[in-house]
C-alpha cells in the first residue's frame, strides 16, 4: 500500500477517518491483489488450520486492515498527528546490555506488529542502530522510520553487499553499536529449517552466527498494537548464542533459531492479526 495514501488520509481525515477509509481500501486489495492474498494465506492457513475458503478470506482481510492501521499509526507518530502510549517490557535487561559501552548486541526483529515504531522507541539507547536492509527496501523503511530526521540514530548495512554485510555488521558490533536484523525472512542470509506454527519453516541464521562469533547477545524486539492508542514493545527475550567445540556450527545455531521461532509462535498466538510476514517462509527456496 502506498505510503502517500496514508499520509494524505491522516492529514485530511485524522486518525479515525483514516482507519475508516482503510476498510474500503482493504476490500480492493483482497479482491485484486492476488499475490498479497496468497502470501497472507501461507500464514493464515497455519495459524488457523482447518479454516474454510470464506473464513480464510475474512481473516486475510482482517490482517490487511490490521497492517493498514499500524501503517497509519506509524505516520501519526512520526508526524505528531496523534499520541500513543508505548509500554516498554524488559527494559531492565536491555539497560544492563547498554551499560557495556564496548560491546554491542544484535537486535532481532520480525515482521510482526509495528517494528519500526518499536525501533524508534529505542532511540534513547544512545547507541547507533545499524539496520541490515536491502537497498530496494531503503526508501520505504527510511520514510517510515523517518531515518534522515533521527540524527543518525539509524544507519543502514546492505545484505546485498559483499558477504551479506557480515563483515560490516561484525565491525560495528565490536565498536559497541547495535545491529538490527530481520529474523524471520532470509533476504541475503542463508536459512535453516525449524518448526514455526507446527510446520517446517525456513528462517535465517545469520543474526545468530554473527552474534555467536562476536560473543554478543541477541535481543528480540517485538511490538504489538493494543486496544486504544497503545503499543507494547517487548525486549525481554535475550538469547546468548555460542558454539561448543568444533561440532557443525550450522547445526549448533539451529536451537537458537528455533528458540526465536518459539517466541514468535507465542506472539502470534496472542496477536494473530499482527503477523505481517506476507511471505511463504514454509516453502524451501
Amino acid at each position: 500500500m502506498g505510503f502517500w495514501f496514508f499520509r494524505v488520509c491522516l492529514k485530511l481525515f485524522g486518525l479515525s477517518g483514516a482507519y475508516g477509509l482503510l476498510y474500503f481500501v482493504c476490500v480492493h486489495y483482497l479482491l485484486f491483489d492476488k499475490k498479497a492474498v496468497t502470501n497472507a494465506l501461507a500464514y493464515i492457513k497455519r495459524r488457523f488450520p482447518g479454516c474454510g475458503w470464506f473464513k480464510s478470506q475474512v481473516k486475510v482481510y482482517r490482517l490487511f486492515v490490521s497492517q493498514g492501521k499500524q501503517l497509519i499509526d506509524r505516520f501519526a507518530i512520526i508526524s505528531g498527528t496523534a499520541k500513543f502510549d508505548i509500554e516498554l517490557k524488559g527494559y531492565e535487561r536491555l539497560s544492563a546490555l547498554l551499560a557495556d559501552k564496548n560491546k554491542g548486541f544484535v537486535l532481532l526483529t520480525a515482521h510482526v506488529g509495528n517494528w519500526q515504531v518499536a525501533l524508534t522507541t529505542l532511540k534513547n539507547m544512545h547507541k547507533p542502530v545499524y539496520l541490515v536492509m536491502r537497498p530496494e527496501d531503503n526508501a520505504a523503511v527510511r520514510e517510515s522510520l523517518n531515518i534522515d530526521a533521527q540524527d543518525d540514530f539509524i544507519r543502514v548495512i546492505s545484505p546485498e553487499g559483499y558477504l551479506g554485510g557480515v563483515v560490516e555488521a561484525m565491525n560495528v558490533l565490536r565498536e559497541g553499536s547495535i545491529v538490527s536484523i530481520m529474523g524471520d525472512r532470509k533476504y541475503g542470509f542463508e536459512g535453516i529449517d525449524i518448526s514455526f506454527l507446527k510446520d517446517r519453516a525456513y528462517f535465517p541464521f545469520g543474526a545468530f552466527s554473527i552474534a555467536a562469533s562476536s560473543n554478543c547477545p541477541v535481543v528480540v524486539l517485538l511490538s504489538a498494537k493494543l486496544p486504544g492508542r497503545k503499543y507494547i514493545v517487548d525486549v525481554s527475550h535475550v538469547l546468548f548464542p555460542g558454539y561448543e567445540g568444533t561440532k557443525d556450527k550450522r547445526e549448533q545455531l539451529r536451537k537458537y533459531v528455533q528458540e526465536f521461532a518459539g517466541v514468535l509462535d507465542k506472539y502470534v498466538e496472542e496477536y494473530p492479526y499482527q503477523c505481517f510476514l506476507f511471505h511463504d517462509v514454509w516453502r524451501a527456496a
Binding site: V166, N171, E190, G206, S214, T246
Partner: protein
Amino acid sequence: MESNNSQSLVEIRKKLKQLLVTSLSLEGVKPEDIKDDEILFGEGLGLDSLDAVEIVVLLQRNFGLEVKDMSQGKKIFYSVDTLVNYIYENQKK
C-alpha cells in the same frame, strides 16, 4: 631483506591454511590440500556466509586485523593468496 619478507609470507600462508581447516571445520581437507590461489567463496573452497563470519574472527584473533574498508572486501576475501597478501601488508604497518 627480500628473503625475510618472502619467509614471512610463506609463514602466514601456512598458518592461514591451518586456521582455515580448523576454524571452519573443513572435513577431509588438509592444509596442504589447499592451493595458494584457491578461491574462498562459491567455487574453490566453497565457503559460505557462515564461514565469512569465522574468517573475520580468525583475522582478528590470530592477526589482530579488522577489514574496515568493505569496498576492498571482495578483493581481500577472493582467494587464499589475496587474504595472505592483505595480512602480510597490514601486519607490517
